[in-house]
């Protein structure tokens, strides 16, 4: 059931990738990467703190620069692509969005946990009213069945979202789970509402899952250069575009140019390998929010416990995105029990 619809790629190297960089890309780093992405034909380019607007915090990690500084650096580099920001209600506010709008952003992705769409009503309505490409982003979508996800997606569409994502924040879904969710969303939402998919590589399925999403009717896919992102990273742009080229799926990004950008600009800036190892695998396996990885490693080192024990316990307690403080809590509990 493939057609020749062009797939819109959203690059998250400078947003989700910030988790893997402990939010330490400088505004200069972002300017260089943004220019390369724009020249490579990327459709939408997202930037700022890994947790989006207002994410700059002790809870999620202090970034090297402010959201405003990042946007000021990135915006002038972008000639053709759309500039996107991410907003998680509860972390960022409409005031933060208004500030970002001064830098000429085109897209905002308003995120909630997959069962809590109703907290995004004001933010989505505001963004749409102000002419932004407005995306609803349902995180941790592996935690609920497709029919429940549909209910929440319909809410976001009713507030004014012109695109809704199934966001596999934990990298826990297998291709059949992706197909089921995207198919259900496509059937339930109006034809003029785009469907998107955001993957993590924790089970080494990011490209396969993203292709499954396209085959099930997704319009937008998130990618990042060299797969830079939380946990084992996001869908790596280079192999994803290569596979799309082989399958005849039209995408705007140029394979050589994004490969060059990944190898020359992103890999040299990485502070540690972003890959499927014992710890990031456990994130996907236990169904835990990918951004917890570096925080869990730090807590494990501080309190002398095993990172994997922390991750598994976080999964057992059904912690959701944004609960980074509970990583310390769990580490303290495990350390107490070990005494």
């Amino acid at each position: 059931m493939m057609n020749n619809k062009k797939i819109i790629l959203t690059d998250v190297t400078m947003r989700d990738g910030m988790h893997a960089m402990a939010h330490q890309f400088s505004d200069d780093d972002m300017a260089v990467i943004a220019k390369a992405l724009d020249e490579a034909g990327m459709d939408i380019i997202e930037a700022t703190h890994g947790d989006g607007l207002g994410g700059n915090s002790l809870q999620y990690g202090l970034a090297k620069n402010t959201d405003a500084e990042y946007l000021a650096a990135v915006a002038p580099q972008i000639k053709n692509a759309k500039l996107s920001v991410l907003l998680i209600p509860g972390i960022g506010t409409i005031e933060d969005l208004k500030e970002a709008m001064q830098y000429g952003i085109n897209t905002v992705r308003v995120c909630t946990h997959c069962t809590e769409a109703d907290v995004s009503a004001q933010h989505i309505a505001f963004a749409r009213k102000n002419g932004l490409d407005t995306v609803g982003f349902l995180m941790m979508s592996h935690m609920i069945p497709p029919e429940k996800l549909v209910e929440q997606a319909k809410l976001m569409a009713s507030y004014g979202a012109n695109c809704v994502y199934s966001t596999d924040s934990a990298g826990n879904l297998t291709p059949d789970g992706v197909t089921a969710r995207i198919t259900a969303l496509r059937e339930a939402l109006p034809a003029d509402v785009h469907i998107g998919f955001h993957a993590h590589q924790n089970l080494s399925l990011a490209v396969a899952n993203s292709i499954a999403a396209v085959e099930a009717g997704a319009d937008r896919i998130d990618v990042s250069l060299a797969g830079l992102g939380a946990g084992a990273g996001n869908t790596p742009a280079e192999p994803f575009v290569a596979v799309c080229n082989k399958l005849g799926i039209p995408v705007g990004a140029d394979l050589y140019k994004i490969s060059d950008a990944a190898d020359n600009l992103v890999r040299p800036r990485m502070t540690h390998p972003v890959q499927v190892d014992g710890k990031s695998l456990m994130i996907g396996y236990a169904g835990v929010y990918s951004s917890f990885l570096l925080h869990a490693e730090r807590a494990a080192a501080r309190y002398g416990v095993d990172t994997r024990d922390i991750l598994v316990e976080l999964g057992r307690r059904k912690m959701v995105g944004g609960q980074e403080d509970m990583i310390l809590d769990v580490a303290l509990d495990i350390a107490k029990q070990a005494k």
């Binding site: 915090s57 002790l58 509860g90 109703d118 907290v119 933010h123 912690m319 959701v320």
Partner: protein, 293 residues
């Protein structure tokens, strides 16, 4: 001595839970519950408990003005802004549980004296009630340059009001760290968690202190332990989950709030702490203004 008679404006979960708490008070008597829906289960319960009830909203406030001296408002920010001038005109003391912030922020363990001088006080937010005492406890030992709080509540205990006004929650709670607790800068984050069974309300407070070292840590720990005891006097389910954790100039404090289970289940510590704090303020008002102790 006669108890001070109070009205409950709003017949939802908060108002109903408040009624049960007020019935235990030695100095306050819940006299009337006012709502907008004649079929509300809250009004029915109030009637069964022997309260006067009305669904005529602000008209009922005027009609039954001789029946109460203090009014708890658990409606919504917009409704409270509209109601507040009427309460004042009638000479009533208003305890505002909405984010309207017509009157000053009050956190009983920190600035209850501020409440006693005015006729309209604002109870901040549940997260504000849970975290501001901690920031205050740190700041009274060593100046806090930045206070950041994370409040996590169960999805089930987050009502439509909280959900529709989540920005107000973060902005108001962040502001309380500065205005009430004295930090130079404040930020708040709220997370909803849908896990079943529902999680207990959790709060994490992180402060950046302008001095550090073993002496500071010892004094800060003691100050926090003292304020926790003070909060426990009016919120029995308020407790430190772990010892405060120090990392250079950063202190991290983990708080858990278990509700009393009056009307709302015990996991709803967020709603419980608001109501317990509001009752605490009203009882102090009863002593100060009406000499009922």
């Amino acid at each position: 001595m006669n108890k001070v008679r109070v009205a409950i404006m709003g017949s939802g979960n908060i108002g109903t839970d408040l009624m049960y708490k007020l019935k235990r008070s030695k100095v306050l008597e819940p006299r009337i519950m006012i709502g907008i829906d004649p079929n509300s289960t809250g009004l029915q319960r109030a009637k069964n408990e022997g309260l006067l009830v009305s669904h005529k909203s602000i008209d009922a406030v005027r009609e039954y003005a001789d029946q109460f001296d203090i009014i708890f408002d658990s409606t919504s920010a917009n409704a409270h802004i509209a109601n507040a001038p009427v309460y004042r005109e009638l000479g009533k003391i208003a305890i505002d549980l909405t984010p309207a912030a017509v009157g000053p922020f009050v956190i009983p363990s920190v600035n209850i004296q501020d409440a006693l001088k005015v006729d309209n006080v604002n109870m901040v937010t549940c997260g504000g009630q849970a975290t501001t005492p901690i920031t205050y406890a740190v700041n009274r030992v060593v100046p806090v340059s930045y206070a950041e709080i994370v409040a996590t509540i169960s999805s089930k205990s987050a009502g439509p009001g909280t959900r529709a006004n989540i920005d107000e929650f973060t902005e108001t709670t962040g502001k309380a760290q500065v205005v009430v607790a004295g930090a130079k800068k404040g930020k708040a984050i709220i997370v909803l968690n849908p896990a079943e069974p529902p999680i207990m309300m959790r709060n994490t407070v992180r402060c950046l202190m302008e001095q550090e070292g073993p002496e500071v840590e010892k004094a800060v720990k003691e100050s926090i332990a003292n304020i926790v005891k003070q909060v426990q006097e009016y919120v029995p389910g308020y407790r430190l989950k772990h010892e405060p954790q120090f990392d250079g100039n950063r202190v991290t404090v983990f708080i858990e709030v278990e509700g009393l289970g009056d009307f709302l289940p015990t996991y709803s510590g967020n709603l419980d702490i608001m109501n317990c704090s509001a009752v605490c303020v009203a009882e102090a008002m009863a002593a100060e203004r009406f000499n009922v102790k």
